[in-house]
């Protein structure tokens, strides 16, 4: 498979064309904005974290490239219902996958994240895949300032 076909797998294209959990979140109690100055991509993440630290609901808004849009869309699917601590660990594993060893986080329900393993061969696109993740962490940390991936 060509490197770029490995990058633009059908699942990524599908989430780009029809992003899931896209739009505002009525019951949000956490949110943050992220910006990638390199490509001008902006993302806003909305979270509902319950009293037990579980992310009960996740949505996002913003425009971006296929990689960043699909990353946000898939993130919103696979992290919904997980506790905050686990989410932070998953981000570490995800980041490692696309920058270092290319293996997906070994947890149940996370196989979709594997589609991003091809990003490793495109170092300039790593920020596209991680923008929404950094923004998510910013929201969880309840920090005011916009995340910037530069």
């Amino acid at each position: 498979m060509n490197d770029f076909r490995e990058l633009y797998q059908e699942m990524i294209l599908d989430h780009y064309r029809s992003p899931r959990n896209f739009g505002p979140l009525e019951n949000q109690n956490l949110s943050a904005r992220g910006y990638n100055p390199l490509c001008g991509d902006e993302v806003e993440i909305h979270l509902y974290r319950d009293g037990d630290g579980i992310l009960r609901d996740i949505s996002f808004e913003g425009c971006g490239c296929a990689i960043s849009t699909a990353s946000a869309s898939i993130l919103s699917e696979v992290l919904k219902g997980r506790p905050e601590n686990e989410v932070r660990d998953i981000f570490e594993e995800f980041h490692k996958m696309i920058t270092e060893d290319g293996t997906a986080p070994e947890r149940e329900g996370l196989t979709k994240l594997k589609v991003f393993s091809g990003v490793k061969k495109f170092p300039v696109r790593v920020k596209c895949a991680t923008l929404v993740w950094h923004t998510l962490i910013q929201a969880l940390d309840e920090k005011e300032e916009e995340v910037c991936t530069e």
């Binding site: 770029f4 633009y8 001008g40 490239c65 296929a66 990689i67």
Partner: protein, 421 residues
């Protein structure tokens, strides 16, 4: 556009024939495979490739004449100084400047504009004054003025841009007044390729007594420039966009202004005498060249200007004009492609978007096909906002570009469309 005289090319048949095969063979970096495909370099507006003569000139300095300039009494320093100073004459000739002392070497356009803003800018712009730029400036011709205005309590005003991508010069009457102290305009837009009628803007500015600065980073590589005909006070360009090395740049300024200005950076080379009580400064241009410059880069720039002169800017302009017309026509034939900006007069670049595909994704796939373009905001975020786009894809051309490059671009776009179908 005064400086775009195609007639002279027709009058001089010697300048008409541009042997592309020969020209391209002079650029070693162009002859390589990228991701298994021959490189198609369409990013000359970011930086041009360098001909062998430039590489050899720089190498020659380090191998044979490596020494510091302007102070050594030994042979190497004399040779290096002579070579360095010759480039000043070459730049003056390129810009039709009356005096080589008007040529100041900088690191590039950005540093040149900052020099003007930080010296005469501070002297001339005060509280309540205005600085005028245009909606299509590169960040390097926005931010230095913004910083100056903030510092001095002045206002930054902007000549608006039409949907076609031309500056709306009818508004100049309202935008230029006795409050306007500096007008700084890009000659050619790096983002969409518009050639601006800077001469008209300069005239309007001069009538109100404003200083005029031309950001010629994107025009010097593509067309003849005559600073006296333009009538500007300052003009800035970068060596690396005109086949020279990075780290070489030029600020041209009118001699009387340069002589009246205080120095910018202090240090070696820019002084006449130094004591702890008082320092006296060197004459123009050394007054503005503190410290050891990038000698190799300036010598490389000299070789680049020799190369440009040998081919002739009229011939380069005509060749690139044909290519741009060809590329616009071919891109217009590709369904889903929308060219951003239809300026009346274009040079250097074409910006476009592809329906349903983000420019960054286009750029990544094009790169995999060996086609190097720029995808992004092109350091012109206000202009992107004007067009309602976060980014575009930009194809830009140089003397070595050819019609086949446009075909490769179109083929690669088809590939993108295949993936995103």
């Amino acid at each position: 556009m005064c400086s775009l005289n195609r007639q002279s090319r027709i009058d001089d048949p010697g300048a008409t024939s541009l042997d592309l095969a020969t020209v391209k063979s002079l650029f070693p970096c162009l002859h390589q495979q990228v991701h298994g495909n021959p490189l198609v370099y369409l990013d000359s507006a970011a930086t041009t490739q360098k001909p062998i003569s430039v590489l050899e000139a720089m190498d020659g300095y380090y191998r044979e004449n490596c020494s510091n300039i302007h102070r050594g009494l030994h042979a190497l320093s004399e040779r290096a100084t002579a070579k360095y100073e010759q480039v000043r004459n070459k730049v003056a000739a390129l810009l039709r400047a009356p005096d080589p002392r008007e040529v100041i070497f900088t690191r590039g356009t950005t540093e040149s504009i900052n020099l003007v803003a930080r010296t005469i800018g501070r002297e001339r712009v005060g509280s309540g004054d205005e600085v005028l730029i245009s909606a299509m400036e590169h960040h390097s011709n926005i931010v230095p003025w913004q910083m100056l205005c903030e510092e001095q309590g002045a206002t930054l005003r902007v000549i608006p841009c039409s949907d076609e991508g031309d500056l709306i010069l009818d508004e100049l009457v309202d935008l230029i007044s006795e409050k306007t102290r500096i007008v700084s305009i890009g000659h050619v837009s790096n983002a969409i390729g518009t050639v601006n009628d800077v001469k008209q803007i300069i005239q309007a500015a001069r009538e109100m007594g404003a200083l005029t600065v031309v950001d010629a980073a994107q025009s010097v590589p593509h067309m003849n420039i005559d600073v006296e005909d333009l009538g500007c006070d300052f003009l800035a360009f970068s060596g690396h966009k005109v086949y020279g090395p990075t780290g070489s740049g030029v600020l041209w300024g009118r001699l009387d202004l340069l002589e009246s200005m205080k120095p910018w950076q202090g240090g070696g080379d820019m002084i006449r005498t130094v004591s702890f009580e008082k320092t006296t400064y060197a004459e123009v241009p050394l007054k503005f060249e503190a410290g050891t410059p990038d000698i190799a880069a300036v010598i490389g720039l000299g070789a680049a200007l020799d190369f440009v002169k040998e081919i002739g800017l009229d011939a380069i302009y005509a060749h690139e004009k044909d290519l741009l017309d060809d590329a616009v026509a071919k891109l217009d034939q590709v369904s889903g492609v929308r060219i951003v900006g239809r300026p009346a007069h274009r040079a250097s670049s074409i910006s476009f978007v592809l329906d349903g595909v983000h420019p960054h994704d286009v750029g990544t796939i094009l790169d995999q096909k060996g086609v190097a373009v720029r995808a992004g905001h092109h350091c012109a975020m206000p202009l992107m906002k004007h067009f309602g786009l976060p980014a575009t894809i930009r194809a830009s051309f140089g003397v070595y570009s050819e019609s086949d490059d446009v075909d490769s671009l179109v083929e690669a776009i088809d590939e993108v469309k295949g993936i995103f179908r």
